[in-house]
Symmetry: C2
Subunit: 424 residues, 2 copies
């Protein structure tokens, strides 16, 4: 049996809006599964080695439920363009380069290491449409210690002719080839990924829906991000009253579906999410950057819709989930102003919950450091910063969210294994 005992100021998010703090606490895992958080070390572990981090914060690591790996090289670029123009001018040409497997290896190994060094241990991630590059991405993530789902993108219409395109038949064939080649991955699994409704013919959507049912596969896509996009979807599917129905019609609207954005999802669409158990991924930064709008996160939470956070690089410009939490809080304040101060903003404990416990829930984990969860954790040191007064663990977490302290993450565990360690 392998045993991990981590000592420090343990802070976790057991429910939305609550943070539990235990200074000098012990986080214990056996064979990669959390046994418990204890104020003093239980008798049975007496004499076992303890990683003592003193007063440093021991936190849950992050789940980033929406990001585009092949857009990593264009982080922070083209932000003055609206969604559809930005796709054509930046995203598609950048993704097209991943036909080159050498380039894919170089960029994806860097991305995987940056994710881990910044405490992101779980993802739902878009690759490009390239099967080989997608397999390289999965290899690099698994090697670095990032767990979760990756999807080869399907797009057989309205893509970038001569640059980034596949026929329906190619899309089908490559998806099957990719799924066959995924068998050996242990921590990174495949996820069906129709780019978004305008990119996929009905025939391809039907194929993917059938595959999802036959092989019990999870699904990810985009939903109601931008008004121009929604008008386009209505035009393409005159028989569907709302955007979500274009997925539902083909069996892609399931409890294992992850839908990014949902900026313009109204009460009826949100109800459909709740009824099906679809997870909405809020990508605050991206929505603001490309002027999509501000998602009704508070309404979704109040109505019982599952909500997690995504960096959405490179519509979002931050890979670091501390920044993503801060961006979500800021967006909720913009939403509050937009709603004449009638909706509450996200508090820091709420934003933190969404980036950790709510994201982990998609992977069937319980909130916080619950016994039975896989050990996903990070150590954050902030002793280098001035202390205006004796700070509570909650205040220290708030500061970490806003400050993005370079080098503050000292260690990361993913799926029970220590995957990152910085010099102190």
């Amino acid at each position: 049996m392998s045993l991990t005992i981590i000592k420090g100021t343990i802070l976790s998010a057991p429910t939305l809006g609550q943070l539990d703090a235990l200074p000098g606490g012990y986080l214990v895992a056996e064979d990669g599964l959390i046994r418990g958080v204890y104020g003093s070390l239980p008798e049975q572990y007496a004499g076992a080695p303890v990683e003592d981090w003193g007063d440093a914060l021991i936190l849950q690591s992050f789940a980033d439920l929406h990001l585009h790996a092949p857009q990593y090289p264009m982080l922070g670029m083209g932000m003055d363009l609206p969604l559809l123009d930005w796709l054509n001018a930046y995203a598609f040409p950048t993704e097209a380069r991943f036909a080159d497997t050498g380039y894919a290896r170089e960029i994806y190994s860097r991305l995987a290491r940056e994710l881990i060094a910044n405490g992101t241990t779980r993802v739902c991630m878009f690759s490009s449409l390239h099967t080989d590059a997608t397999l390289i991405l999965m290899e690099e993530l698994e090697k670095a210690g990032v767990t979760g789902y990756v999807g080869k993108v399907n797009m057989d219409r309205n893509a970038a002719p001569g640059l980034l395109e596949e026929t329906t038949e190619e899309s089908r064939r490559e998806t099957l080839r990719w799924l066959d080649a995924c068998q050996d991955f242990r921590l990174v699994k495949p996820m069906l990924t129709p780019r978004f409704t305008p990119s996929c013919t009905n025939e391809l959507m039907a194929f993917l829906g059938k595959l999802a049912a036959e092989r019990d596969l999870p699904v990810q896509s985009h939903l109601s991000e931008n008004q121009a996009e929604m008008a386009w979807v209505r035009q393409l599917h005159p028989g569907c009253q709302q955007y979500w129905e274009t997925y539902a019609k083909y069996g892609l609207w399931t409890s294992r579906a992850v839908m990014a954005h949902c900026v313009w999802s109204d009460a009826r669409e949100r109800q459909a999410m709740r009824d099906a158990g679809v997870t909405a991924v809020h990508c605050a930064d991206s929505n603001q950057n490309i002027c999509s709008g501000v998602a009704p996160v508070r309404a979704m939470l109040n109505e019982g819709v599952k909500v997690a956070l995504g960096s959405d690089i490179a519509g979002g410009d931050h890979l670091h989930m501390f920044d993503v939490v801060a961006a979500s809080i800021r967006a909720s304040k913009a939403r509050r102003v937009l709603d004449n101060w009638e909706t509450d903003f996200l508090t820091v404990p709420e934003g933190w919950y969404l980036a950790t416990s709510a994201g982990a829930a998609y992977f069937a984990e319980q909130p916080g450091f619950a016994p039975g969860n896989h050990l996903h954790a990070l150590v954050l040191a902030d002793d280098d910063l001035p202390q205006p007064h004796p700070m509570t663990p909650q205040e220290r977490l708030e500061r970490a969210v806003y400050l993005r302290q370079g080098g503050a993450i000292r260690a990361v565990w993913s799926e029970g294994r220590k995957v990152f360690s910085a010099e102190g």
Copy 2:
């Protein structure tokens, strides 16, 4: 004569919305004053030493026209509270610690070095009400190479009794003592700083207005930040129709006045700004963090009001002006959504202009690297980042704005002098 020649990709903001780029250009200064930007080195400088930065970007350094030095230790804290509660719970107790000059020395030397290392070479800055700490702040800024204005804060009512307070008489006496002690500073000058209307009795306001006129002193304060604050001001000055009139009434509304926030300044108040030549300082991050609202920056620019940017730490949570530019752009996009897509957002070149040329204008400089300006510049290297395609200097600047690359600033010049140099 001292001569500085800097070679690299020179990028400057000569007008709002325009960026001039000159790869392989030479920026030449004599005795600290810019002579020009040249595509090839003029004959007269042949053989002179050239600092060759290769392809790195040579940029104007930043002007931060509103920040609170004694709030630096509480960066990123208390952001879930509204303005007036946040002042009482966080800002006032934190500022009170600067009665201790040893503490002031420790914090302010760190702040000054961080400003310079991040390319901020000009400021309009609030100190606390403590005269001695204010002088220490000015010493540390001057030593590090930060130029501009600092104000001992005046607040003789509605402060923090027993913690942070001064009588009208003390405020007057300490202001005079402080001004006397400021004579020897060369780069950092005093600026009258009534905290905001609710903090100053009419008697004190009248004293400060008289002083401003007699000694030709600049003035800084806060204006129309938050609706609760504005209601309070109306109650305190029933004779004034608008907030700005409470400053104008006492001679504090001049062409040398800098007013932070202006979130709720309507057309009439903006007209008063334009007529008097008052500079509005937009503090996007702070306004969003404490839910004040979103300032009508586009309207101000269209109407010819002078606008610059401020980090407003610690209402803002970023000291780095790259972040402040990005925050301003994001806020303008939130404003666009709020205005039903009827106002244009700030583009990257516009945001950059506001953080550099517009701020420098307050110090009587011409936009861009104009001949005759004092040399304020920085070198930014981004060769460590992936290149999705051959990038223009403008794209590289955009990415720098969004990414906040640690260690990317390699050198900084302030008022003609090289004040920072990093290992390459």
